[in-house]
Amino acid sequence: MAAETKTASITRRAVLTAAAAAGAGFAGGVFTSSADASDSDDGVAIVRQLTRKTPVESDRVHLVMPSKFPNGYTVPLSLEIDSPMTEADHVRQVRVFAPRNPLIEVARFHFVPQRSESRVSTRIRLAEPQYVLAVAEMNDGALLMTKTWVEVATNGCA
């Protein structure tokens, strides 16, 4: 347990150093809020903290991941948002968050109406069992979100 705590603090320090080096104000905000955010499994609160907007849970956002996976290094993730992808009604971007990772933001996918489908698959790292969040920003600015629980047996971020 002691070793685990030590690893966590080193990681946190590395994170803060990286944030300072990058000198990115927004990124810094995300990093410093990670301690609070990771203490809660309330997806809406975490997303509000990260985006400063209130998301609504929506069944238009489909996030498919295995509920149990042997290692945290390469966990499959598939995303699909129900959208006609027209100029009038489309998904602008989708952000994926892993609140219990040392760095919360995983990826941001940008879609283009009439050109790309709001659908993507990839592989991500997870540090520990947690809810993974997907937040879709629609063209009217609304945030639609969903979350899915993923149990990993090994830390993919160490």
Binding site: V15, E117, V120
Partner: protein, 108 residues
């Protein structure tokens, strides 16, 4: 570290308005900046931080990648076949190095 090698799997022919699948992968360690070497020094972050797909010079899909993307980042996405032309895939690495591939698509 091995030289990152990008690969894509894309059809060469598609029907007008057909939705086609693109599989894009680059071999890359994706060093997170969270690890330490045996001397206890932080191994600096070096990841692919951006990916973009251009279709006849118009960006039609993009990704911002962070540390939690798996090594050898793999991205599967779907595009609409609008016209014949050139698909360009660009990966950007920390430090500014880029890797790119192009692919010719015929829309009949």
């Amino acid at each position: 570290m091995l030289t990152p090698t990008p690969r894509v799997q894309v059809p060469s022919v598609a029907a007008k308005d057909e939705i086609f699948q693109v599989k894009a992968l680059i071999s890359h360690q994706m060093e997170t900046g969270l690890r330490h070497d045996p001397q206890g020094e932080v191994i600096p972050r070096k990841i692919i931080n951006k990916f973009a797909c251009r279709y006849n010079d118009i960006v039609v899909f993009g990704v911002d990648l962070h540390e939690a993307m798996a090594a050898n980042p793999y991205i599967e996405f779907y595009l609409r076949a609008t016209e014949s032309g050139r698909l360009e895939f660009i990966w950007e690495e920390d430090g500014g190095q880029t890797y790119a591939l192009t692919h010719q698509l015929t829309v009949g």
